[in-house]
């Protein structure tokens, strides 16, 4: 399974998200530290879940990091996160 799919799979199971987007951003970091041939090192994740309601930004990201402990210890060098509740996501679109 590709790393991006594995990340999406874990996030789906942990957060039952209303929306989740996992973008392999490795090409944009070509040649940077942690980059390797074949990509799958730098990711951007946008996730909308009611699990985040009432949680601080730090707490939300910690939850995501915890769900992805294995990936962060392994192939994933960088993970950009956007964590929103469904209400915040609706507000952002309005």
């Amino acid at each position: 399974m590709r790393v991006a799919d594995r990340i999406a799979d874990k996030l789906n199971r942990r957060f039952a998200p209303a929306e989740v987007r996992v973008i392999d951003d490795s090409q944009r970091h070509h040649g940077h530290a942690g980059w390797r041939e074949g990509g799958e090192t730098h990711f951007k994740v946008e996730i909308v879940s009611s699990v985040f309601a009432g949680q601080s930004r730090v707490a939300r990201q910690r939850l995501v990091y915890q769900a992805l402990t294995e990936e962060l210890a392994g192939p994933v060098h960088a993970l950009e996160l956007k964590t929103l509740t469904p209400e915040e996501a609706a507000g952002a679109k309005a």
Binding site: V58, Q61, R62, Y65, T69, L79
Partner: protein, 112 residues
């Protein structure tokens, strides 16, 4: 109870300096885009901060992640409190919360 000896150093750094950024590289020569982004925000706001290059110290590089329960670098501390990494600093800056929080903690910024 054998606490990681690096924790003592971290506690000293974040209590002796109002604003501390654990980063890859130095404020003048950041070695990672995410570290550079946070340096950019702090510099733009005219905030004086101490940059600590974790690439120069393997024990610190691991220790700071355990200390903060946060697996990535950069990490920003203000008055001893962990604020977050690059995404959080960027979001807080864009919404104005960062400026507000710095003001509340008595950190001097350039008039925006």
């Amino acid at each position: 109870m054998s606490e990681n000896p690096v924790f003592e150093r971290i506690k000293n750094d974040i209590s002796e300096n109002d604003v501390v950024l654990y980063m890859k590289g130095t404020p003048i020569f950041p070695q990672c885009g995410f570290s550079a982004a946070v340096v950019g925000v702090l510099t733009h706001l005219g905030v004086k901060f101490k940059g600590i290059n974790i690439l120069e110290d393997a024990a610190l590089r691991q220790g700071i992640k355990e200390f903060s329960s946060w697996p990535t670098i950069p990490q920003l501390y203000v008055k001893g409190e962990f604020i977050g990494g690059c995404d959080i600093v960027r979001e807080m800056y864009q919404s104005g919360e960062l400026q507000q929080m710095l003001g509340q903690k008595g950190i001097q910024t350039k008039a925006a």
